[in-house]
């Protein structure tokens, strides 16, 4: 955007919203919104504390494990669905149901099945992320140029070769798009898991701060979480741009 002929750097609008937040906070409209400056001071004070680092590492662990399994399972399943009509007919209804299902309602079932520990949190995270990854990988495979497949076939590609050297790369732009959305959903999944299953990680901090009306702490953790999710998502968007040169020309 340009203002008075000057180009503003990206996300300049955040400054405006930050100022508004500060003003509303200083006016003391509600205890729920402390001034932004106070939140930032709290943020830097909390960030090095053992409680915070412990929460961060617990959350990061559950998040990484959950997202990794969503990718490792979701991408091949999506590719196979795109390739195989029978598998597609069998699985597609379930994928669509789970994509739109209120997964939070499933969490108690997971607790019964997998216990109250880290395992259930990881599975919750996976369940939030995996469906869109499957759907996007499938869509990526379904738009592959037929003659690329014929080409691989005519030069004697084995099924494994075709999978690794053609299908995966041809679908990569869509796969990365799916992973990016999946990761954003996984952030929700990991926090919901931590709030509902066992009170650990950032979930525990949210619980603690909101129960004690420590609003500036609450917002500080939220900002950290947002920044982390934003960074990961931007990194994946960067990877997507790396393959954009062929995405439009397949």
């Amino acid at each position: 955007m340009t203002v008075f002929g000057r180009r503003l750097p990206g996300m300049s609008s955040l400054i405006l919203w930050g100022l508004l937040w500060e003003v509303v906070g200083r006016l003391g409209v509600t205890f729920f919104i402390p001034p932004l400056s106070e939140v930032l001071v709290t943020l830097f004070a909390t960030i090095g504390t053992p409680a915070f680092t412990k929460a961060l590492s617990e959350t990061a662990y559950a998040f990484t494990m959950g997202v990794t399994s969503a990718i490792v399972i979701g991408v091949p399943v999506g590719i196979l669905m795109g390739k195989n009509r029978l598998l597609d007919e069998l699985l597609l209804p379930w994928v669509n149901i789970f994509l739109s299902a209120p997964l939070t309602a499933l969490v108690p079932v997971l607790m019964v099945l997998f216990g109250f520990g880290m395992k259930s949190i990881i599975i919750t995270t996976t369940l939030f992320a995996i469906w869109i990854i499957i759907l996007n990988s499938r869509a990526g495979v379904m738009q592959i140029n037929r003659s690329l497949i014929e080409m691989a076939h005519s030069f004697g590609a084995s099924p494994i070769d075709a999978f690794v050297k053609i299908y995966f790369w041809a679908a990569l732009p869509e796969i990365l798009g799916g992973v990016r959305i999946g990761v954003i959903r996984a952030v929700k999944g990991v926090i919901i898991g931590q709030l509902l299953i066992s009170i650990v990680g950032f979930g525990a901090l949210f619980e603690l701060y909101s129960a004690n009306f420590l609003m500036s702490h609450f917002w500080a953790v939220l900002i950290v979480l947002f920044a982390l999710a934003f960074t990961i998502s931007e990194f994946l968007a960067f990877l997507e741009r790396r393959v954009a040169y062929y995405a439009a020309k397949r």
Binding site: S147, L148, E150, F155, L172, Y246
Partner: protein, 266 residues
């Protein structure tokens, strides 16, 4: 008519060496008969064109020879071995080039060898040679989207040559490039047929192109497809590529093919 050499062809029939033979090949798509009892022989070291109106099954026949499609009945033999699928004795050049958009020119050219498990340094050495041969030296590390249509098809051709198959199958390879590039391609193809000891099977819908490049033209007529005529232009083949288009025999054959095809064009 001198250009058909019917008598000569009959006389030779016993000692001509055929690289590929199609014997009573039929192919149905549901209720549609695409090919019916089609038999055709392809002499070794020569270029045979499958020519016909659209929908006459020429691409279907080519893909059956490639092993990409299975016939409903009949069989294809390459060097007297029945075709059951794709094999290293045949290489395919695609109408839309079928290049890997995420791979450089050199990897694309070496891709056939890569699938055969040839070591990287060896296959890139071979690919390098064919990239030079098709006139793309210096573009080894370019990507397909950076090349023109004609250059992309040169990559496709180099890839097919790199696997050193004895039979080259070309599915309307020049139809997606501009007219001038196309003429250059046709000239290059003539010298390729002359210098590489390979059998070429070429699909086109351009009559001029067929007469210009072919040793043998099989005219296919549609619904269901069958070979209606085989023409072997012979008189002008050794008079230099620049003289072909004004040779009376060339013009006669073009005219004759058009008069037999015109009733099939809507």
């Amino acid at each position: 008519m001198p250009q058909t050499r019917d008598a000569a062809a009959l006389h030779q029939a016993h000692d001509v060496d055929y690289a590929v033979t199609a014997h009573k090949v039929s192919k149905n798509y549901g209720d549609v008969e695409a090919l019916k009892d089609l038999s055709l022989e392809f002499p070794r070291g020569q270029l045979t064109t499958l020519l016909g109106p659209s929908g006459c099954g020429k691409t279907t026949l080519l893909k059956i020879i490639a092993g990409l499609l299975a016939p409903n009945s009949g069989e294809i033999q390459v060097d007297r071995k029945t075709v059951t699928g794709p094999g290293p004795d045949r290489a395919f050049v695609f109408q839309d080039f079928a290049l890997l958009p995420w791979a450089s020119v050199i990897r694309n050219v070496a891709f056939g060898l890569e699938l055969r498990g040839v070591a990287k340094s060896e296959r890139e050495g071979i690919a390098e040679k064919y990239i030079q041969d098709v006139g793309l030296g210096g573009f080894e590390n370019s990507f397909p989207h950076e090349l023109s249509g004609g250059m992309r098809q040169r990559v496709g051709l180099a890839r097919a040559l790199a696997v050193d198959a004895r039979v080259l199958l070309m599915d309307e390879p020049f139809s997606a490039v501009d007219e001038q590039t196309r003429r250059k391609f046709q000239e290059d193809l003539l010298s390729l047929v002359q210098h590489e000891n390979k059998t070429f099977i070429f699909v086109t819908h351009s009559i001029e192109e067929a007469v210009y490049v072919s040793d043998q033209i099989a005219i296919l007529l549609p619904r269901p497809s069958r070979v209606s005529e085989i023409i072997r232009p012979s008189g002008f083949r050794n008079r230099g590529s620049e003289n072909i288009r004004r040779d009376p025999e060339y013009l006669d054959i073009v005219d004759r093919i058009w008069s037999s095809l015109r009733s099939y064009v809507e």
